[in-house]
Symmetry: C2
Amino acid sequence: MSAGFTVAVDAMGGDKGTGVIVEGVRQVLSARDDANLLLVGDPDEIQKHIGNNPLPKGRTEIVEASEVVNMDDSVAVALRNKKKSSMRIAIDQVKSGRASACVSSGNTSALMAISKFVLKTIPGIDRPAICTTIPALNGHTHMLDLGANVDCSADHLYQFAAMGSILAHAIDDNSRPTVGLLNIGSEDIKGNEQVKEAAELLSDSTLNYVGFVEGNEIYTDRADIVVCDGFVGNVSLKTSEGVANLVSVYLKEEFMRSPMNKLVGLLAKPILRSFGNRIDPRQYNGASLLGLKGVVIKSHGSADAVAFANAINIALLEIANDVPSKISESMNQSHNSVA
Amino acid sequence: MSAGFTVAVDAMGGDKGTGVIVEGVRQVLSARDDANLLLVGDPDEIQKHIGNNPLPKGRTEIVEASEVVNMDDSVAVALRNKKKSSMRIAIDQVKSGRASACVSSGNTSALMAISKFVLKTIPGIDRPAICTTIPALNGHTHMLDLGANVDCSADHLYQFAAMGSILAHAIDDNSRPTVGLLNIGSEDIKGNEQVKEAAELLSDSTLNYVGFVEGNEIYTDRADIVVCDGFVGNVSLKTSEGVANLVSVYLKEEFMRSPMNKLVGLLAKPILRSFGNRIDPRQYNGASLLGLKGVVIKSHGSADAVAFANAINIALLEIANDVPSKISESMNQSHNSVA
């Protein structure tokens, strides 16, 4: 491999097949020369999609894997019975040091479970969490957890806040990112017990805690990081997808309603495309599994090549900024300060 | 009062003042002749907004109230120290039988607490819930709870499903409304304990249970009623508001980006307005406090006249369909079938 960062890619994960993954890899390779990629999966399938347009030598390698974790495989099956899966072997590359990060569009629960088993959790972190970046007025918001942990204690929420702060610091170059706790009202008396207790922990911490945020404020610049349990985070994120889809269907329907509307729609096409790009979920593809001793990025199951390339770019950013080590250092410090 | 349905309106609640409430009342009175309205509040303030354009005699009455529940009043203050508030006296009108429903844009927690105290909860219902209607592909979805109950047991979720079914049956004329349970995945193994247990209760019930629904499916025709705890429901609803706001800001920005875009924006104006109307939250204003021995409707704090009129219309629909009695009968039946 050439000098630079190496990312292991699960070439068999996701709903769209190996083709979009190879194409995403190609986009990253041509956009930056400091990235090397290991494509993990069925060599014939990968080679078929590479076709007559070879990937740059010395910067890519195919790593054989004879099994695939399916979207409906249980965690137990993925973990115990599929040790030769593309997902497992991609994560193994991080463990062995051949790669510095892994990206997969496969089964989220399996990816989290195998990553925890192979890479281990950073001491001081009870549970890794899933964090993604979402568009907001005047910037973006990092939100976690998005589904790894359905029930969370106040301590867990505090740890999510600490990890999110490190991520935002590292990748946004924001030295004092603000942290908000997702709640159903801004008053102190609102919310469940875990949230109220987490608010106390955060108020007493060195993190830049700004208080409770409500669901609508995720999409504003109220806080750089929004913390919640995985059940709430997952529902909130999927709700957003539902609203965005409804809006896009309604908008199309209105512009198709009459011949006159269609004509205006033609004129408005570049404007609507530019609008669409701003809320395009592909631009935000790539969720970080934070709290592991290694960089693992979950790409959306239905990611296309552009989206998959974005997920690889997030992996590269986290490697370059050494996010796992920074989380580890921060946990050491908070441990020492308590001891 | 004339023949027809009588609704008591809290004329002092909400952020927009008494003017929009009087205007909303005026819209309802002119649109339908079977509605009578009691305006509860400061007579001078109400009279000032009625001005020189009197409301129809025999169909409206001003009921004096000398206090107001503020948006930041605690439940304890609203309940114990403000017995002469417009909110309290509006609810008292339902208790005494002078009105068949109450509508308020005031403090939600206070409205729920006072309603429970004055009207009482229907036997068999442990906790009343807040239910609203939201736009969805091919129709709309009823969702509850939206914030009255932050922690819910499986039994509570089951009761919400039963109440939602009765509401949908009554106001949509849908004899077998489908019920979905909000969860973070469609597989049986996903979710927290309460949700899993509620799924079993619903599967064994006579309700038309269709399984788990994910956040994005709220905005599809997957289920007529979506059930969740109040924390999750509130976050989901507010998240939707946040996304809708972001979309509207982005859309405006794109159509204002250049003189050419502005010109196209002028042409597209009627189309965008028609689109805007479809996602206009005013069309969906009016959340039902279900499970009480009486119809109580919460209007959004920032509701304008159109939105407030919609909330009154929902109250009229629930009175006409006698929703509280139907919930009560259904609870009796399920009690008898268990006994």
